[in-house]
């Protein structure tokens, strides 16, 4: 189970208090153990359910009780997963991380912003360098900045932009219809070289997994940009928020300029 809730800064730091306190006090450790028990107990009853096809056996009866009880006990698995620590880590880390990868990408059916059927490899292997990122149109945090970065990249590339293909894959394809993607593209002045892709949820997840950017669900995603010179070349992966100038610099370095 991966519960991750939005935490305002203050509750976030209180979450850290809790995890610190739990780690350091005896009663806290006991409480932590109790929570862990409850989780495994819950998982067990769910498993029991899986095997129960009759629909009215004992395990399910017992189950709901502790499950709804856990809501007001206020325990929160997310509390141990301290967002503030991440936040600090993010802030201390200057710039971005660059790495190179050979991703074994399978061809996955997708839909472009005109509503046409297409596929991942058809989009990537168009005989041009490509840049890829992952967004969803109702994201309020990372994606607007990621998309504004792509917008800035296309303007910094100037006439050179016709030689590159930029691709933004929706990680919320159920909501991001081709029409919504067109609207979004317009918001960021996307030129002809910049395509937005959607499709089915399973296929979007397959693409995310192919690039190792899948983080469980759309609310957990991270800022990653990928680029490749041509078919058969390694992928350059940029994790973190890089400036448009950085991306253009990496792009030129990749092209060998």
């Amino acid at each position: 189970m991966n519960w991750k809730y939005p935490l305002p800064r203050i509750p976030g730091s209180r979450a850290m208090v809790l995890s610190a306190a739990l780690a350091l006090t005896v009663s806290g450790a006991a409480a932590l153990a109790a929570e862990a028990d409850e989780h495994s107990g819950h998982a067990a009853s769910e498993q029991a359910m899986e095997h129960d096809h009759s629909g009215h056996a004992a395990p399910e009866q017992a189950m709901e009780h502790d499950h709804s009880a856990d809501e007001h006990a206020g325990h929160d698995a997310g509390a141990a997963d301290d967002p503030h620590a991440h936040h600090r880590a993010m802030m201390q880390q200057t710039g971005y991380r660059r790495s190179e990868h050979d991703y074994a990408l399978h061809d996955v059916p997708l839909v472009d912003m005109q509503g046409n059927q297409t596929s991942l490899l058809a989009q990537l292997d168009a005989g041009k360098p490509v840049m890829v990122n992952f967004i969803f149109t109702t994201c309020t945090t990372i994606c607007p900045v990621m998309s504004a970065t792509f917008q800035q990249v296309q303007s910094e590339l100037g006439a050179e932009r016709d030689q590159v293909r930029m691709i933004s894959v929706s990680i919320d394809p159920e909501h991001d219809t081709p029409a919504r993607l067109r609207e979004y593209a317009e918001l960021f002045d996307a030129g002809d070289q910049w395509e937005f892709l959607t499709g089915s949820l399973a296929n979007s997840i397959a693409v995310q997994k192919g690039f190792d950017v899948y983080r469980g669900n759309k609310m957990n995603h991270e800022p990653t940009t990928l680029m490749r010179k041509g078919q058969g070349d390694p992928w350059v992966r940029i994790d973190g928020l890089a400036s448009a100038a950085d991306i253009v610099k990496e792009y030129h370095a990749m092209l060998g300029r």
Partner: protein, 558 residues
């Protein structure tokens, strides 16, 4: 024996520092400060910048990220990141902090185990340091911000307005929350059938009653919380559920709702059941700024700008649009398409209008046939309908009894008919009564989990309902939807901890739904900021020959 003294500071710190002081200080200095120093006009100008990205001059606000990335318009709206509530959010590893005045103007302490007072993680802002933060991205202690926070080239006067607005954002508990209780309402109209009403209210009331059983002595723990647990148990409130009954004509409902609210304000409305459109309730919740979670309706209000009502499904509009899309995919748009609905049936009418709209946008016509109020779907009706129009495709928004004459007429098995679409919401989710010769031409729009998979999907709620002896198998969807709304409300209450802010409560729902382990009668639910419908998919399905349905399309795919 462990001395309690060192812990005392923490007890005070946690319970007062975090939970009481910010709330209390709203009544004390910041509030008076807002009044004394900022005019309502300033607050409004600040609101336009924060929530809409519009400068006092009327121009769009602009900003920079990472030195060179220019943002403007919707992308620079503070509320997009810090949210409408000002309580912030997190996505992946990015944490956007809370920016309400009372939080910013107090030191942010990162507590440790060393008494008596934890060190500050961030000094309290002053107007000057806050302006610098927004303009240059530098915190009160001089450290540079995370690059996700844009830099805003705003003038001093503009910044004064933003600050006036931030100070006006309150973390004081919303109406409907007392020190010990949180009030919720649910809505039931008198026209709801007795069996449905009972199944619904049983679910709502039993859940709340169980929630209030102090199985873990929450109320005691809240009062005598050990210091490190104060934040966990401090926010505990007993739930009080009010059933708002709506009687008589719909026109009088707004008044009835307002009167109920005046008598006892509620923090949120959870679920609800009323025939006809949800509009009166929707408008009430929007007007009174009360969250309204997951009413059970096929006729929601679809409005991108509204905030307070979160629905399960787009209902009949989704069904109409789904059929239009399937017709296009199956290349059936060249056929004569006739749709049938009953006059005065809001559901059928709404679905028909949605189908008509989509086809009209493509320059295509659909012929509408209405079954008069009081009339029955007779053989003669179907005969004349099909023969007169030469229909190749019939889309029926009718119930099973109106369809019986069509099945027995033999017409569906013969040309010109190629395809019949039924709504499983209206007709029922299965091929019962459809003759074998016709069944192959019949397709269902089915915006739920397939019938044969439903029992398994609902094990969690049926198990609970059975154990409470309130399970009503004939009202499966009602009980499942109500249970879903309650689970989500419970989860959101947990997430907001002691911050009983309605907007924050809704924002938590937006973030929680994708993680929901219970999805009611839908295979999948999903939500995101600004989205108001959790059901994104549907099946087009056919009879599977075993009493169930077989999907011919994928759920929720573009």
């Amino acid at each position: 024996m462990i001395s309690l003294r060192p812990f005392l500071g923490f007890l005070l710190f946690f319970s007062l520092g975090f939970l009481l002081v910010p709330a209390a200080s709203v009544a004390a200095d910041p509030a008076t400060a807002v009044e004394a120093r900022h005019t309502p006009e300033q607050v409004e100008l600040g609101r336009r910048m924060y929530q809409e990205g519009i400068l006092p001059s009327g121009e769009l606000m602009t900003a920079r990220v990472q030195g060179d990335i220019r943002l403007t318009g919707e992308q620079v709206i503070c509320g997009a990141c810090h949210r409408r509530s000002g309580m912030g959010a997190s996505e992946g590893q990015e944490v956007v902090p809370a920016v309400t005045g009372d939080i910013l103007y107090a030191p942010l302490r990162l507590p440790t185990l060393k008494p008596p007072l934890p060190p500050t993680q961030r000094a309290a802002y002053t107007d000057e340091t806050l302006k610098r933060a927004i303009r240059d991205g530098i915190g009160p202690d001089g450290q540079a911000f995370n690059p996700f926070m844009p830099n805003y080239p705003l003038s001093d006067t503009e910044l004064d307005s933003v600050i006036a607005y931030l100070r006006s954002l309150s973390i004081a508990p919303a109406p409907g929350v007392t020190e010990t209780e949180v009030h919720f309402a649910t809505i039931v109209a008198d026209a709801v059938e007795p069996a449905a009403r009972k199944a619904f209210l049983d679910t709502m009331q039993t859940f709340v009653a169980q929630k209030n059983v102090p199985t873990r002595n929450e109320d005691q723990r809240a009062a005598h919380a050990p210091w490190h647990k104060a934040w966990v148990f401090g926010p505990y409130r007993k739930w009080v559920l009010h059933v708002w009954e709506l009687n008589g004509p719909r026109e009088s409902w707004p008044e009835q709702l307002a009167a109920q609210y005046a008598e006892q304000p509620v923090f949120a409305v959870v679920s609800g059941l009323a025939p006809g459109g949800w509009q009166p309730m929707h408008e009430f919740c929007e007007g009174f700024e009360v969250p309204c979670l997951f009413p059970i309706t096929d006729l929601p209000v679809i409005d991108d700008d509204d905030f307070y009502t979160v629905y399960l499904s787009r209902g009949m509009v989704l069904e109409g649009e789904a059929i239009a899309r399937h017709l296009a995919e199956q290349q059936l748009l060249g056929q004569v398409i006739v749709q049938v609905y009953r006059e005065g049936d809001a559901k059928g009418q709404t679905a028909a209008a949605a189908l008509r709209d989509v086809l009209q946008k493509r320059g295509l016509q659909v012929r509408d046939a209405r079954l008069q109020d009081g009339a029955e779907g007779t053989t003669a009706f179907w005969q004349s309908l099909i023969e007169d129009s030469g229909a190749g495709v019939v889309v029926s928004w009718l119930g099973a009894s109106d369809m019986a004459a069509l099945w027995s007429s033999g017409l569906p098995a013969k040309p010109p008919i190629e395809r019949i679409y039924l709504s499983s919401t209206q007709f029922g989710p299965g091929a019962d009564g459809i003759p074998p010769a016709a069944v192959d031409r019949v397709y269902f729009i089915h915006p739920y989990e397939l019938p044969q998979k439903l029992n398994r999907l609902l094990l969690r709620s049926t198990g609970w309902l059975r154990s409470k002896r309130i399970y009503a198998p004939a009202e499966k969807r009602i009980q499942a939807d109500a249970f879903f709304a309650l689970k989500m409300a419970g989860g959101a209450m947990k997430t907001i901890r002691g911050y009983f802010i309605r907007d924050y409560f809704l924002e938590s729902i937006e973030h929680m739904v994708d993680n929901a382990s219970y999805t009611s009668v839908y295979p999948r639910v999903s939500l995101a900021p600004g989205q108001r419908f959790v059901v994104k998919g549907y099946y087009i399905a056919k009879d599977d020959g075993k009493g169930g349905l077989q999907a011919v399309t994928e759920w929720g795919s573009q």
